[in-house]
Amino acid sequence: MSSLATVSAPVTRTFVTFRVYERLYGIEVCFVREVSTQIAVTPVPQAPAIVRGLTNLRSRIHLVLDLRAALGFPVAAGTAESRLVVLQAGVAEHVGLLVDRGGEIVQVAQEQIEDAAADGAVQAGGASRPSAVSGVCKLADELMLIVDPIRLIEATEKAIG
């Protein structure tokens, strides 16, 4: 890329942020349909830990994935602060990600983002399954780990067998 292009049109990306196990994560806004407070979940026995269960979102049954489990943290019960990050149908139909706390929408420049593929995002502090994290973004006061929902779905498929 020529530097000229970068100057004339700075590429920014927008993320929906949330917290899991106190760490900051973000999903690109185009992958997210809504953030819901509906977290009443019916567990699905026999499913792997990443599957938190099923919930009823406006009369549609949604699959709820537990991001704690997905990112390798200990699973915990939901709280009043828990949120469901519902993915766009294009990513996966009727799937929501259960997170500990909702956050803001942030806009970051492309240069702030580092691809995590190379170093496996080892900084994710004990995240033993870094595959869902596709990048790291340096914000003013902390790091935001970028979650790739498509990889997450793939991981779920694999886990279910």
């Binding site: 567990p43 026999q46 049954i61 799937v95």
Partner: protein, 993 residues
């Protein structure tokens, strides 16, 4: 791009219908149909529609091949070639290729169709080479019968016209007097008219006006510039003419031999949503009454799910409505009725005639017959019976397999048939009919039938069953062994049925849609396969239950019954050879625990089963509580232990999330009235996961003394009042059932009355006493008159369902209210057992019909009822309590004895057959004890032989009543209570033992 593929998809759906019709018609033609002309017309219509649709969708390869077929069949129609076996074969060959192209429409464009085209070539050429000078006017579009009788001949008419060439504008529709005239499309070439016939444009116009009224006209003048000189032939002219003349007369009157004529009424009468091209409407099908519309399935599904939501809302509304308020009840009743109707309409939208599927079988049977050297006739009935689209789709494979199986294994060769004294032609009857909310499809052949001895031998060889098991199986059970996977008795495997697709596929596919297969056969005379299918899938009555605090649903159709586990009595889980079994009416039924199955991701190994069995039985079995749902999966019956049963509910099935489909234990999911998601268990998945399917020992008969397992049965009257519930009362309590007309019911103050045989009789409405759905007048109106009521009264019923004699097992968890004895699973549905006498007493109190004055406490007699069957215990208690006596109940002889020791009673009523301590032992114990010398005892039992009576007497009973005539029972107990123990017996205390 998307639009194009949508169009292609629509084409494929439509094309399959045409292909099926084509196939049926061709085979019909070959079989020597009584109406060959109609079959040919059918072929032409379908081929033509196919061609049109393909052309419109840009699928030119399919278009070319269907065109060739159409042309070939035209030559058959016009008598230029005969419909010989060879011609039929060629047509079928082309049809196969066409089907393959349609199946993969996306890639059809590049496909090689030279082979079918080459084979069709001579048939197509027959027309061109024909020396027949005359081609009938517009023979292409006027139906054969009309065409062949057209007297006119001309050498000139080469032009043809398609309906699609005449777009009908709204203006035409307005001016066309549809009731008084036909609508024709006329197409001609000005040049031809002028040059060959000498008809000037003016003359043409005049002739057209002579034959009818021109409503619209159009000419093709593309690229005409004066610089190019005069237009070159042909110069086409299209006009739409309305005329009162039928087609032959019209053509005659028109007298323009070069014109092509088509009939347009059917198109004009169609809703205008039609496609601009595609001759689907070209056929002479009459205008459909009321019209029809093509609606995407997705939209219908959406409608279905909305209707389903509405059902949920209604259920919620029901629960939160105060049943006491009249206006609310009325509103609710209307909501109820409307919801039901809407749901019904929504379901109806998904229905398709089963004929769409049946159409493929004449061809299949014909081909198989040829391949196998057999002569097989196929008779089809009930092709217009409608089935849910999904059910129909799932049915295709199993039905095809069964048909193959009939042709291959069922029907014998002509030689064999001859030797067996049968006609050389085998006959397969395929019939569909609707029967009690189910669709029944039957395939019946007159072939060799099933050889049950061979099946048994094979079963033993494969180790599926033991000889003693086989000996105990019914004929049908033996027949159904062929549905087990890997089970084939055919001595030789042909390439037809033996392609690794076993009969088990039939069963599994059917089970997916909640269907079952039954097989009946008389060896040497044929076999009948009966498929029973649900009308629709989307709404499913389910049993709701809990396991480890979570709710689960299981389709009621999979549930045979629900057994309450009681540690002290007969329903007990035992451990046999590291496998858990339930002793149920003398049989050992394999059992699995839902909680254990759901806890483990991996399918069970034998070790897992053993570990579970040992864990639950290492400790005291007394701790076992809960329910066992007896489920049926194909020929397999097994029990599923759950913590609690919540009752049954009609639920709207939602598909399982795609990511979860690999978990076999669930079939689908649903959203309940409280908004929570609940998983619907798959009976099959559970059976597989828990390894029950692999258990060596399936259901076996337990060898135990019958006494401990005596089952109480009784005759019941089953009826309905509202739409939802099924009610049961003991038939013995019913004096009479009268069919009435609702308008005969009169309101007298607070009461409703009707004259029965001149006696004013009170009408009791169940929804006044119980929280049940409102009266459903649409089914009918009956009054059930109980045996005894102080004031004449009867219960209103909408439908008398049945009077079966059934096992009586009550489960009081689902429904418990004053006036209800309990509930039980009858015929796959939860039935509410009414306490008739309590209900009447409730009504009498409400309406101030004073019940007979109860004796004061001091004078009140106390009766002890000893009875192990909950149903009878409650019933007898209710009888006695209604008489004003105080009643205590015990579930076994031992318990009864305890009560006798602790409290004082004036009489004992005891069952004889009971676990732990039976009635005879109880009586002996009582009589042995001097304190009870004067205590009268009455035996109330279903045993009725003289021997039983004698035994009871000698054990110490004073009276003997057979279950259960309320009046004689009460009379006997009354006399026992007033006159006490017959003196002779008191004196002869030594009589016992």
């Amino acid at each position: 791009m998307a639009a194009e593929s949508n169009q292609q998809q629509r084409f494929v759906v439509e094309a399959r219908e045409h292909l099926a019709a084509l196939s049926a018609a061709i085979v019909e033609l070959e079989r020597g149909a009584s109406d060959p002309a109609e079959q040919v017309a059918r072929i032409l219509r379908s081929a033509h529609s196919l061609k049109g649709g393909a052309g419109f969708s840009g699928l030119t390869t399919i278009e070319r091949l269907s065109h060739a077929m159409e042309t070939a069949v035209e030559n058959v129609r016009d008598g230029r070639i005969a419909a010989s076996a060879e011609v039929i074969d060629t047509l079928l060959f082309a049809l196969d290729r066409l089907s393959a192209l349609v199946d993969d429409a996306e890639h059809s464009q590049g496909a090689d169709i030279t082979a079918p085209l080459e084979r069709l070539q001579p048939l197509v050429a027959a027309g061109e080479a024909s020396t027949e000078p005359a081609k009938k006017i517009s023979a292409r579009q006027i139906t054969p019968s009309q065409a062949s009788s057209t007297p006119r001949t001309t050498t000139l008419a080469k032009s043809t016209a398609a309906v699609s060439e005449f777009p009908i504008s709204p203006r035409v529709l307005e001016t066309w007097e549809r009731h008084a005239s036909f609508l024709y499309g006329v197409k001609l070439d000005w040049f031809e008219a002028e040059r060959d016939l000498g008809l000037s444009p003016l003359e043409v116009a005049r002739r057209i006006e002579r034959a009818g009224t021109s409503l619209d006209a159009r000419m093709e003048l593309t690229g005409l510039t004066l610089a190019d000189g005069l237009p070159t032939p042909p110069l086409w002219y299209w006009t739409i003419v309305s005329s009162a003349l039928p087609s032959e007369d019209f053509a005659q009157q028109l007298e323009i031999p070069c014109a092509a004529i088509v009939r347009l009424e059917s198109v004009a009468n169609k809703p205008q949503e039609k496609k601009p091209e595609g001759g689907a409407q070209a056929g002479p099908r009459g205008p459909a009454a009321g019209g029809s519309l093509r609606i995407p399935v997705t939209l219908i599904d959406r409608m279905m799910s909305l209707a389903g939501e509405l059902v949920l809302v209604r259920n919620q509304a029901k629960r939160s409505t105060d049943a006491g308020v009249d206006t609310q009840r009325q509103l609710l009743r209307r909501l109820d009725a409307l919801t039901n109707e809407m749901q019904d309409a929504a379901l109806r939208m998904r229905m398709q005639p089963v004929g769409a599927l049946f159409d493929r079988f004449p061809r299949l049977v014909r081909d198989l017959g040829r391949q196998l050297g057999k002569q097989i006739d196929l008779e089809i009935a009930g092709a217009d019976v409608e089935l849910d689209k999904t059910v129909l789709e799932t049915l295709a494979d199993p039905l095809t397999h069964l048909m193959r199986n009939c042709c291959d294994h069922g029907i014998e060769t002509p030689d064999e048939r001859g030797r067996a004294g049968k006609s050389p032609n085998g006959l397969i009857r395929l019939a569909a009919r609707q029967e009690r909310g189910q669709i029944v499809i039957q395939i019946k052949d007159d072939g060799r039938g099933l050889d049950r001895d061979a099946i048994k031998r094979k079963a033993m060889q494969q180790g599926v069953k033991q000889r003693d098991e086989l000996d105990r199986m019914s004929e049908r059970e033996v027949n159904e062994l062929i549905l087990l996977s890997g089970f084939s008795t055919a001595s030789r495997v042909t390439d037809l049925s033996g392609r690794g697709v076993g009969m088990d596929v039939v069963r599994t596919n059917l089970e997916q849609i909640g269907g079952v297969v039954e097989i009946d056969s008389v060896f040497g005379e044929g076999a009948t396969f009966t498929l029973r299918l649900p009308l629709t899938l989307a709404i499913l009555p389910c049993l709701l239950m809990t396991s480890e605090g979570e709710r689960f649903a299981i389709p009621l159709r999979d549930v045979e019954e629900v057994v309450l586990l009681r540690s002290e009595t007969k329903a007990r889980i035992e451990c046999a050879d590291h496998e858990e079994v339930l002793r149920l009416r003398g049989k050992l039924v394999p059992v699995m625990r839902l909680a254990e199955v759901l806890r483990r991701r991996e399918p069970f190994s034998a070790d897992t089963c053993a570990a579970i069995a040992d864990r639950h039985h290492g400790q005291s079995a007394e701790l076992t509580r809960g329910y066992v749902a007896i489920l049926r999966f194909g020929a397999l019956r097994f029990g599923m232990v759950v913590d609690d049963v919540l009752g049954s509910e009609e639920i709207v099935v939602k598909p399982l999330h795609p990511l979860l489909r690999r978990l076999g234990s669930y079939g689908a999911a649903t959203i309940l009235g409280d908004g929570r998601v609940v998983l619907i268990l798959s009976c099959e998945g559970l059976a597989r996961h828990s390894g029950i399917v692999h258990r060596q020992r399936r259901e076996v008969r337990a060898e135990l003394p019958a006494a401990a397992e005596a089952m109480e049965t009784g005759a019941l009257l089953l009826f309905r009042y509202g739409t939802a519930e099924l009610f049961a009362v003991p038939l013995g309590d019913v004096r009479r059932i009268v069919s009435i007309r609702p308008e005969q019911i009169e309101r007298v103050g607070e009461r409703e009355m009707i004259a029965i045989d001149g006696t004013p009789t009170n009408v009791l409405r169940l929804d006044r006493f119980l929280r049940v759905s409102g009266f459903d007048e649409s089914r009918g109106s009956f009054l059930i008159l109980p045996r005894q009521a102080k004031a004449p009264a009867g219960f209103l019923a909408s439908e008398i369902v049945d009077t079966p004699t059934l096992d009586l097992r009550l489960d009081d968890r689902a429904y418990r209210a004053d006036g209800i004895l309990g509930s039980g699973l009858i015929l796959g549905q939860i039935a509410i057992f009414l306490d008739v006498f309590r209900l009447i007493a409730m009504w009498e109190i409400e309406h101030g019909v004073a019940p007979a004055a109860l004796p004061g406490p001091s004078a009140r007699k106390r009766v002890l009822v000893v009875e192990d069957t909950e149903f009878f215990r409650r019933l007898v208690t209710s009888y006695l309590a209604a008489e004003g006596w105080e009643v205590a109940a015990a579930g076994s002889g031992a318990e009864g004895l305890e009560k006798l020791n602790a409290e004082s009673f004036d009489a004992v009523v005891s069952d004889i057959e009971m676990p732990v301590m039976d009635g005879l032992t109880l009586a002996r114990e009582v009589r042995r004890d001097g304190r009870f010398d004067r205590l009268p005892m009455l035996a109330l039992t279903s045993l009725s032989s003289e021997e039983d009576r004698r035994k009871a007497r000698s054990a110490g009973f004073d009276a003997y009543e057979v279950k259960l005539n309320r009046e004689t029972f009460l009379e006997t107990i009354r006399s026992l209570l007033t006159s006490g123990r017959p003196a002779a017996l008191v004196a002869g205390g030594a009589q016992h033992e």
